[in-house]
Each structure stands twice: as C-alpha cells, then as structure tokens.
C-alpha cells in the first residue's frame, strides 16, 4: 500500500514541480530508470517468493542504477556509448521480462 502511494506521490510531484534534468545526468537517467525498473521487478519477485530483504533491495537498487550509469559513462568515454547503452537496455529488458514472468507465475500459476 505504502509503496503504491510513494509511486503516485512521485508521479504527481514530478508533474507539479516540472523539474529539469541536470545536464550531467541527462545521458544516464534513461538507463538508470530502466535499471531501477529491473530492481523493482526483482524485488517484487523476491517478495512474492518470500526471500525479500529490504537491505538487499536497497543495495541492489542503488548498485544496479550506479552500474548502469557507469557502463554508459565508460562507453561514452571510449566512444561506444550508444552501443553499450543499447546493450544495457537489452540485458535489463530481458531481466525485466524474466522477473515479470516469475511474478505472474507466482500470482496466477500461469
């Protein structure tokens, strides 16, 4: 219940405050969001399987986001930024699908 409220509050605040993305964050925010989605789905899956730990969740969330951003950053520095970010998005997308499948199976047996 509270997490859903947090989600809604974040959306509403984002719409009301209309924050601009800081320039240094701009290339990394999209990847960071995908990584965060992956972490969230993983956390929900773990929660449904009974293995959820908030510490692991926080650490995995932060590390996922940071590593994704770091990969894109390094890629930008060595000149393969767009390819690397595509790779990261593909890998995270696969993980999201896998997590979503596990969640669906846990909830609906299907």
């Amino acid at each position: 219940m509270i997490p859903i409220l947090g989600l809604i509050a974040g959306i509403i605040l984002g719409l009301i405050l209309e924050p601009g993305v800081p320039p240094f964050l701009q290339p990394y925010l999209p990847i960071a969001i995908v990584a965060a989605m992956d972490a969230l789905f993983g956390a929900f899956r773990a929660y449904l399987e009974g293995t959820f730990t908030d510490k692991v969740f926080v650490v995995s969330f932060i590390s996922n986001v940071l590593i994704a951003a770091a990969i894109v950053y390094v890629g930008d520095q060595i000149g393969v930024g767009s390819q690397l970010s595509t790779g990261v998005v593909v890998v995270l997308g696969i993980r999201i699908f896998t997590n979503a499948a596990a969640i669906r199976r846990a909830l609906f047996h299907a």
Binding site: I2, P3, I8, G10, I33, L40, R105
Partner: protein, 264 residues
Amino acid sequence: MPEDDSDLTGQQPPEEREPAEHRRRRIRQAFVRPGRGQLIAAVILFLVAFGGVMQVRTNNEENPYKNARQDDLVQILDGLNSESRRLQSEIEDLQKTRESLRSGADRQRVARSETRKRIGDLGILAGTEKAQGPGVRITVKDPHGKLTPELMLEGIEELRDAGAEAIEINDHYRVVASTWFAGGAGNVTVDGQPINAPVVIEAIGDSDSLASGASFRGGFADQVTGNAQGQINIDRESSVIIDSLHTQKKNQYAHPASSPTAKR
C-alpha cells in the same frame, strides 16, 4: 518473451502450488500491516517515479538534439552543412538567372524605345505620322494665275534644302518623296489634286533658315513677286501643326534586302 515464459512454466514443480496461497495472503497482509520494507520500497518507488516523469517530460518537451550524442550531432551538423551549401549554390544559380533575365528585359526595353523613336522619325519622313514643331507658314497669293508647277517645285525644293522636316500644302496635301506637281500656270495640281489659291505652304524646321531659304535674292519669294506678279507672306511660327497624312502605297517591286534584326 513467450518462449522463456513457457520454458519456465514447464519447469515449475507441482508442489509449489501450496505456497502460492501463502504468497497471496502475504500480499493481502501487506496492505493491512505495512512494515519497514514497504516504507523503503515506497521511497525508492517515489524516486523512480519522479525520475521517470522527469525523463519523460524532458524527452517530450526539449529539442531532440539535447539527448543526441556527439557523433550523432557531428553527423547532423555535416548534413546541415552540405544542405546549406546546396541551397547556397541554388541561390547563386537563381540570382544569375534573375540577373540575366533582368538585363535581357533592359535590353529589350531599350531596343523597343529605340524602335519606337525610329518609327516616329521614319513616319514623319514618309508622311504617315502627324508632326508638330517650329517652322514657317508661307502664304502665296496668285491674283494673275501665273503660279506654275515649276515654281511650286522650286519653292518646295528650297524649303527642303533649308532643312524642312515636314511640309504640307493648303493644310491638306502632305509633301513626301514621291509628291509630284503638274498642271499649268494658275491650275497647279499636287499628286493629281488641284490646289486653290491662295496656296499655303507649312514647313517644320528651323524657322530662321526656312524663312531665309525661301526669301533669298532671286529665290522663291522673288520669283513669285517678280515673274508671277503675286504676293508672298512668310510667317515664322513657334508651333506649326501638320496633321494631313500621306497614304503610302505598298511597294510592288522593292523589298528590304535584309531585315534590320538579322543585321545586328
């Protein structure tokens, strides 16, 4: 990923069905009794939602080049540069075309006004245009009927020698290159038409030269007053209007040897 999905479904052991009931119960309990984990999840979801909205807004509102990488920007810039070069050369081509059209139109206009002027000059010379300008009006009274065509011709010739550009007799007969005089003393004809006394000769040109050309000693005026015993009046006019026209016959034998445009 449907393949992945079916794969995992196949692997699912049958004894996990019982814990599934626990999972649903856990979700229901989570709504009733929130714990610390939920609070943390709420905070993180808040951050993700905030960042996501931020990113979506940025993506929608700001220009598409903002998120482009350096390589893409360089490529876009190259494209724009070549496009602008192409447009520049197109502008130059069009300007050249415009210049040539304009100078062509100028030439054409000059040629047309030149031609019009020439038509006017030639029309006055040929007697097909009305003329106006300074000149003289010579009135010859012939009470004794002794005015001969030779005398008339001499008078006209003297006016021509003095630079007359257009000559008219009795306001009716335009004197041109082919004009001829005939008849006898007292019934002179011009181009076959009889002219009645008093004969009025109007000529356009420098009025002083025309007047002196007609009245020098032994000239036209002397002969009219002497031999023909008539009276002559030479009036200098600042404006003589010659509005009779000579109807030109079409040349039957002579044609222009070459067109003026072909010569240029």
